[in-house]
């Protein structure tokens, strides 16, 4: 048995593999931010006023921040989680009042030269409270009341963020569904929810007859394979027709209930409407950049799309296009493999926790990172509409890097204390 003394020593039991992956991703981020900002005509002397210089500062301070979290008592997060949640919600309200409007979103609170983004903080605030709720009350998530309470914890920040409005950050909160699923939320709720989201989107993309006939075909196929089980056949039939009915309702809601500007915004997000200098242009240039990397990439600082500024917002939301262009498929493979390894590792670590608080929090961390990675990379290669959220640890920006660092290192602290009781 490991004695209490040892478990309280700072770095004892910390999962060094996760920290290694974290450092690797930050390093990859720095190199590619350097390439994104690199201008062949300017001198290449290292300079802290440039964005890559700043990012280095962010990485170092981030590491310091992460290590100092390891110094805190593990019980701190569980005990103070309602207060942390409350403070972050308050900040989400404050930003609506004093926030700086950047690019149509009121998402930042300026503090000196630093810009605080409360929606980033809200992510781990929500994760902490969710973990606290489940660990304290051990609720049965297949009954109505606990589900509603859990949903409330998630929906409050979503609504506040939607007021900014910042659709990208808001959507990330949907990732909390997966930890709840792990804790007993019935699977069919997830299937129905994501099915409805998918159908709503497909409904806008595809012609009605294509969608209806494919739903009928899929339904028919399922009935055929379950022809011996009458009850299932009936259920599948009901679901099929419910889906078709939903299509019509969704269409009616979209066309009659939503305001024209809301409609336009959804259409823009989904890429149904393109203005050549807007989202469509970005994605197209990003795809060209990534595609031109081919197998092994064009080489560090050799990507013409990157060097000559063809991809907008390249150091932040579109940083993956630099990786794709200069490091090719090999580079992309390495980055995605690192993320996958990190995610699977965090889930495995979460499952070895004694306390359900740590486990739920671990799942939250994994799913938030997963959402960011999937949406961001998916966006740069054009399989997901343009939703402006950063690539964890890699995208330029202090606010995003620090909040991901805090998010991850809180979990590492909880994990290092897994034998203790929280």
């Amino acid at each position: 048995m490991i004695n209490q003394q040892n478990s309280n020593r700072f770095f004892f039991n910390v999962d060094w593999i996760t920290i290694l992956i974290y450092v690797a991703l930050c390093g990859i981020g720095f190199v590619n931010i350097y390439a994104s900002i690199y201008n062949p005509e300017e001198s290449t002397v290292f300079n802290f006023t440039t964005n890559y210089g700043k990012q280095l500062i962010f990485i170092i301070t981030g590491l310091v921040l992460g290590l100092s979290i390891l110094l805190l008592d593990a019980k701190f997060f569980s005990i103070f989680s309602p207060i942390i949640y409350g403070v972050t919600m308050l900040l989400l309200i404050v930003v609506l009042v004093v926030g700086r409007n950047v690019g149509g979103n009121q998402a930042w609170i300026p503090i000196g030269s630093f810009r605080l983004q409360p929606s980033e903080l809200a992510k781990f605030g929500t994760a902490l409270l969710l973990a606290r709720y489940i660990s304290s009350f051990n609720p049965k998530l297949n009954t109505l009341k606990p589900v509603l309470i859990a949903a409330l914890i998630i929906v409050i920040p979503m609504c506040l963020i939607m007021l900014q409005p910042d659709a990208g950050s808001m959507l990330v909160f949907l990732s909390f569904m997966f930890p709840l699923y792990r804790e007993g939320l019935p699977g069919y709720l997830l299937v129905v929810f994501w099915g409805m989201v998918l159908l709503f989107i497909l409904n806008l993309f595809l012609a009605p007859w294509v969608l209806i006939s494919s739903i009928l075909a899929i339904g028919g196929l399922f009935i055929y394979f379950n022809k011996k089980k009458q009850q299932r056949m009936i259920m599948i039939g009901v679901i099929t027709f419910a889906a078709i009915g939903y299509l019509f309702i969704a269409k009616v809601i979209f066309e009659n209930v939503l305001q024209p500007h809301q409609r336009t915004r959804i259409e823009l997000i989904l890429g149904l409407k393109t203005d050549p200098k807007g989202a469509g242009y970005n994605v197209n240039q990003s795809k060209i950049a990534i595609g031109s990397g081919q197998l092994t990439g064009r080489g560090f600082l050799e990507g013409t799309q990157t060097k000559y500024g063809y991809v907008p917002e390249q150091s932040t939301d579109f940083i993956f296009s630099t990786i794709g262009e200069e490091w090719g498929f090999v580079g992309c493979f390495v980055v995605i493999a690192l993320y996958l390894f990190l995610l699977l590792r965090v889930i495995n670590l979460a499952e070895r926790q004694r306390s359900s608080f740590s486990r739920v929090y671990g799942y939250c961390v994994a799913c938030i990172i997963f959402f960011h990675v999937f949406i961001n990379i998916g966006m740069t290669i054009g399989i997901i509409p343009v939703i402006g959220i950063p690539l964890p640890f890699i995208s330029y920006g202090g606010s995003s890097l620090w909040s991901f660092t805090v998010l991850l290192f809180i979990f590492l602290k909880l994990d290092s204390n897994r034998m203790g009781f929280i």
Partner: protein
């Protein structure tokens, strides 16, 4: 504790599936297709073309006839244009707002992201003002290129002109030309286009997203420099050309002079002419339309397109063919009662000389003599009938370059006109004979020649039996290449000895007291020649002279046609003598200079055509002789409208 533990695998499975979807898509766009790679290249790579200087054209003494002058095109990239003071720009380049909008819309329609020409060919002065203030006009820049300049403003028809390519030109060139290029449209500029144009240079430039150049691609490994066009040394003699154009000032017609030994054309005058500089620059279009209004058709290249009956100038050929065929000898005489009669035809003669032999017959231009020779040629026993004999005759005449293009190095040369027996058999059924076509004997009837063909006949006689295709470019490029066809001798199959007695007659025509062109005799130079007074059904006769000088070792063969100017001796012969003397002596004596001055001042232009009286036959080939004269003629000397007096003493 719980079966919920298994849900871990569902979630991890989801992560892996999504990861594989991302990698699969990446594999497709990065490895499986190179579509995006190509797009990336075309994003950043622009080919910037540099225009080569067009080849310079020199005269035979290497004085420039056509050279290049820098001009400046104002270019625009529409999507880079920001708000600016449009009125200021209009003021600097001297255009109005309407033109500004038109130009801008045109450029925008071509491309919003690529440069196109906004206003072309700004002068150096405008450029100087503009370049100081160019930074005020974002999206605009200046591109320099060269256009033609013709320092002496001569030889417009020889030079031709260049114009911006049309869509059709681009199509026909299979993509060689690009919008905005220039192409030779007539004259030497056209016939030597592929040599003169040079090769475009190309610079592969990298551009960033805001269209700012970022340096050359691959250290310029794929760039090429522009190569200027080949220089051409023409056969023209600038001084002679100038003299010829001055003499023909305010007259309609041609002067063609050839160096017999080489076939090089020394003078190539087509009148009326124009200043070739009018066909350059921003007003090209307007000037062109203005020139088109001239009723005497400025753009006709009369030396190779004008059709004239050769008239008396054809008579040396009668004699040469007669001698070669053996139907006459130099001493054969015919009786001239003042006419020649055959069947229903009567050919009149201007004199009654009784018995007349070759030498005097040519000197006096005796029609009767020519008709007898023609009769003898077509009634030779060796032919089964006269139609076969006619074909043999036609073939011999053709050897002298009549009835077919000579193959000069200019576009749009015309054939002239000379029919074969089948034509006449068709026209008159089978029953025709030499009498039917007797006008051909005196160079009339259904026979037309261009001034170039007439001059070439003189070159053949001067060479005693051969010619080299007349040409205008004697050396191409640095290595002074000459086309093979322009050094080859073309023999006419008449023995050299037969020429001397014919030349005797032509010498007398200019030098003997009874000659037709005695007034144009040059002291100390034996010029041989033949006057012609070509009937013009639509007006006063054309004045024609053909000849060569000196008699031995000739240096110049010449044909002069002055439309509606009457006798050959009045205008054409003296003009020819000035040209010959100028060329052979390098200058003219004072008294001749005074005559030249007088000649320059003479205005001999046909009256403007009566409106809407057009000949029915539009096909020029079937119209009677002298199709180059469009309307009834009127002769005006200086300020009187009387008939011109024969060559006047200048003082």
């Amino acid at each position: 504790m719980d079966n919920l533990f298994n849900r871990k695998y569902t979630i991890q499975g989801l992560f892996i599936v999504i990861g594989l979807i991302l990698l699969g898509t990446l594999f497709y766009i990065q490895v499986a297709t190179d579509k995006y790679f190509i797009s990336a290249e075309s994003n950043v790579l622009r080919k910037i073309y540099t225009f080569p200087a067009r080849g310079v054209i020199f005269d035979r003494n290497e004085k420039a006839l056509a050279q290049n002058e820098a001009v400046y095109d104002l270019m625009v990239i529409p999507n880079q244009v920001k708000r600016f003071d449009t009125a200021a720009l209009c003021r600097i380049i001297n255009i109005d707002m309407e033109r500004f909008n038109r130009n801008f819309n045109k450029a925008s329609a071509q491309s919003r992201y690529q440069p196109s020409i906004f206003e072309r060919q700004l002068s150096i002065q405008v450029y100087a003002t503009l370049s100081e203030q160019l930074s005020r006009f974002p999206g605009f820049f200046v591109q320099s290129r060269t256009i033609r300049h013709y320092p002496d403003s001569v030889a417009a028809h020889f030079l031709g002109y260049i114009k911006e390519v049309t869509k059709l030109d681009i199509q026909n060139s299979e993509g060689y030309y690009r919008s905005g290029d220039y192409i030779g449209k007539s004259g030497v500029e056209k016939s030597y286009e592929t040599l003169l144009r040079g090769e475009r240079g190309v610079v592969n430039m990298l551009y960033d997203a805001r269209n700012v150049p970022k340096g050359s691609y691959a250290e310029g490994r794929f760039d090429t420099a522009a190569v200027s066009g080949d220089r051409l040394i023409s056969s023209l003699d600038l001084n002679l050309q100038k003299l010829g154009e001055e003499l023909m000032h305010n007259k309609v017609g041609s002067i063609v002079a050839i160096e017999p030994a080489s076939g090089e054309i020394l003078t190539f005058v087509s009148s009326p002419s124009y200043d070739p500089n009018l066909m350059v620059g921003r007003n090209q279009g307007n000037n062109y339309m203005e020139l088109l209004k001239n009723p005497n058709r400025v753009f006709n290249i009369r030396p190779i397109q004008g059709y004239y009956s050769p008239g008396s100038s054809f008579k040396p050929l009668d004699a040469l063919l007669g001698l070669q065929e053996g139907v006459i000898d130099p001493n054969t005489t015919f009786n001239c009662p003042g006419y020649f009669k055959v069947g229903g035809h009567t050919v009149k003669c201007e004199h009654v000389d009784g018995n007349i032999a070759l030498r005097k017959g040519l000197a006096r231009s005796c029609n009767t003599y020519a008709c007898y020779v023609f009769q003898k040629l077509l009634t030779q026993r060796k032919f089964p009938n006269q139609r076969v004999a006619y074909d043999a005759w036609q073939k011999m005449v053709k050897k002298f370059g009549l009835g077919e293009k000579l193959g000069i190095d200019l576009p749009s040369e015309r054939n002239g006109r000379l029919y074969d027996a089948a034509y006449y058999s068709g026209k008159y059924s089978k029953y025709w004979n030499y009498g039917t076509v007797i006008s051909l004997a005196i160079g009339q009837g259904e026979m037309d020649a261009t001034p170039l063909q007439m001059a070439n006949i003189m070159a053949i006689i001067a060479n005693r039996g051969y010619y080299i295709k007349p040409h205008l470019v004697k050396a191409i490029g640095k290595n002074r290449v000459i086309k093979k066809e322009y050094v080859k001798r073309n023999y006419v199959d008449v023995e050299a000895r037969h020429f001397e007695s014919v030349i005797d007659g032509m010498q007398d025509a200019v030098n003997a007291p009874w000659g037709t062109a005695i007034q144009s005799r040059i002291d100390g130079i034996l010029m041989c020649g033949k006057t012609g007074t070509v009937q013009n059904p639509r007006g006063k006769n054309h004045s024609v002279f053909i000849g060569f000088a000196p008699r031995d070792n000739p240096k110049i063969a010449i044909a002069v046609i002055v439309e509606n100017a009457g006798y050959g001796s009045t205008y054409a012969a003296p003009m020819a003598s000035y040209i010959a003397e100028q060329y052979l002596r390098g200058q003219l004596p004072k008294n001749k200079l005074a005559e030249v001055e007088w000649m320059k001042k003479q205005v001999i232009l046909p009256a403007p055509p009566k409106p809407k009286v057009k000949p029915k036959a539009k096909d020029t080939d079937s119209v009677a002789p002298a199709t180059a004269a469009p309307a009834p003629a009127q002769v005006t000397t200086n300020n009187t409208t009387t008939t011109s007096t024969p060559i006047p003493p200048p003082q």
